[in-house]
């Protein structure tokens, strides 16, 4: 990158600045309309929800009113669910999720990069991942319970498997998309394999790796409820399942809304990290 900056003449820099400004301007303008649209979407969802429940088209068991859900939320906030405070439910779930994500990142990233780089590594790993990736988790979850027991381990393994594939695939494709010229230039300048990997391949793949991690988080999060189906007595997913046993639909709504909001917040956090770590994204 340093080389590139040196090559840029002042004129070119100005050009880039101008283009940037143009883009930004357009961004803020569309942002405003889009934000209004998003707001209107949510407002209309709430209005429709309110109208439907107000007209009593369905029994409150099928569709509880927003007020009922809100009351139930306050009740759970105050008293917890099943005598367990709500933040412990949420914390247990997030712990399961992040342990899984942590291990997935630290195994899938190196394996994915290696697979993308060395076709022989890919030949070993790729088919296995392609095989299990589309399997629905519930199909093999019982096996995981049998092998790893009913405690947190089996749940974390399930989430790990869910998170592994997206990161791995992102890494492979990132290496594939790498501009071969960079590697060849570095080689001709006498860089060794280790340097090429650490200084060219890894940084160049970072944006895609991050996209992979964000996808992985999403996939793992959607698997959370299935993971907490067996032998759990805490966790936000279990709360929703237990509530469905007693047809407490307002608690199901509360659980879903909490999960949705935490999902958005965590994704925003990941995007913030992405911006900080890959500061050059979209600028090179």
């Amino acid at each position: 990158m340093a080389e590139k900056n040196l090559n840029n003449s002042k004129e070119e820099k100005n050009k880039i600045k101008w283009a940037d400004n143009l883009l930004n301007k357009k961004d803020t303008k569309t942002n405003k309309t889009e934000k209004t649209l998003t707001f209107l979407t949510w407002a209309s969802i709430f209005i429709i929800w309110y109208i439907i429940t107000k007209l009593k088209l369905f029994s409150p068991t099928l569709l509880p009113s927003p007020l009922r859900v809100w009351r139930s939320f306050l009740f759970i906030l105050e008293n917890g669910y099943n005598n367990v405070p709500i933040w412990i439910h949420l914390g247990t779930s997030l712990k399961r999720l992040f342990v899984a994500l942590f291990f997935a990142i630290f195994t899938a990233v190196p394996l994915g990069l290696l697979s993308g780089y060395f076709s022989k590594v890919e030949a070993v790993i790729d088919s296995v991942i392609e095989f299990y990736r589309p399997l629905p988790p519930l199909a093999y979850y019982t096996l995981l319970v049998l092998w790893f027991g009913i405690d947190d381990l089996s749940k974390q393994v399930l989430l790990f498997l869910a998170a592994f594939a997206p990161i791995y695939i992102a890494c492979v494709s990132a290496v594939r998309k790498l501009n071969k010229d960079f590697v060849l230039s570095a080689e001709s300048l006498g860089a060794n394999q280790k340097d090429i990997f650490l200084k060219i391949v890894l940084p160049a793949s970072m944006p895609e790796i991050f996209t992979g991690i964000r996808t992985a988080f999403g996939v793992a999060y959607t698997t959370l409820v299935s993971a907490e189906m067996v032998a759990a007595t805490s966790g936000i997913g279990w709360m929703v399942l237990d509530a469905s046993n007693f047809l407490k639909s307002e608690v199901i709504f509360v659980g879903i809304i909490i999960m949705g909001i935490t999902g958005v917040i965590i994704d925003a956090g990941l995007r913030y990290l992405e911006k900080k770590i890959i500061f050059w994204k979209g600028k090179v």
Binding site: S44, I51, S59, L62, N82, T233, D242, N245, F246, L247
Partner: protein, 356 residues
Amino acid sequence: MKNYFLKFLVIVLLISLLSISLIGCGNNQTINENEQQTLPKKINFGILRIPNDETIAIAEGYFEKYFTEKGIQVNTTVFDSGAEANQALASGSIDFATMGNTNAITALSRKLKVEMVWLHEVLGDNEALAVKNDSGIKKVQDLKGMRVAVPFASTAHYILLNVLKEAGIKDKVQLLDMQTAEIVAAWERGDIKAAYSWQPTLAKLLENGYPLITSEDMAEKGYITANVEVVRKEFSNKYPDLVANFVSAMVEAGNIYRNSPQKAAEIVSNELGIKPEVALHQMQGTSWKTREELLSQEFFGTKENPGNFAKVMKDTSDFLQNQGSIEDSPSQETFNEYVNPEYIKMSLENNQIQEN
């Protein structure tokens, strides 16, 4: 600004259109309900895979006799527990459902439009707290600090909570929410040393374990549980005769058991894939009632003079409410109406099955 206003207008319009169309749906339904049709095209039954009268009735083709021959398609769906059946009932996917009386209470408390029309069996030795042989557990108090698996929201869950409460260790035991098949898996792995479950799962646990306390023991202390049949009111109001027919099918199946337990055991063993002697033992763990017994004061009673089972339901309901499982406990009057003896009476009046 004009642009925004236009968009807003369009959205408001869309909302109102959608709501109107939804109201339209609601109205259509009520019109359909009012139309008194002769017979439904099909009936959806939610069943449990347990050795009971319904399993025999299905194996012996009584549903065909009472329903298919009238041109009604019979559809059965197996549920692992009444909790799942309740979800299907709420959505209107099934008309009849077999469930533990605790689930039937949940249904009423959540204002599902259903009523209880039959009692399959009173639970006894077929539900028990099994502990592993090598666990060293001799009495209920020994469970302190241990993990006990049970399918939440079931009759077993209700009894287990009372067992622990009576022993004074309710807060000192960790309960795990598991389905019956998972209980067996966790048991085999050694993850759990104690579980409250029902037959046929219980038999698998007892292969290397023993019952510490059974639902029979608890029934003697007044904690009665039973598997019951609930039906959607929309269905029963429209086709009361078919509900009475269902009762008759159950009675015929029950008669096989009452006349020849051996024969009933063979039928059940074929249907559930267990040994006949095991099936027999499991059936003997429950108590099956005749229509006359059910219409007595001990169970359904009469419309004017509701029987004791409505009181059992109310007591259980109050317990579940204290437990925080259900939000509100319906009144005794509501339960008196819920436990409806009319269909059993109809079945008794208009058919010729002989009871022995």
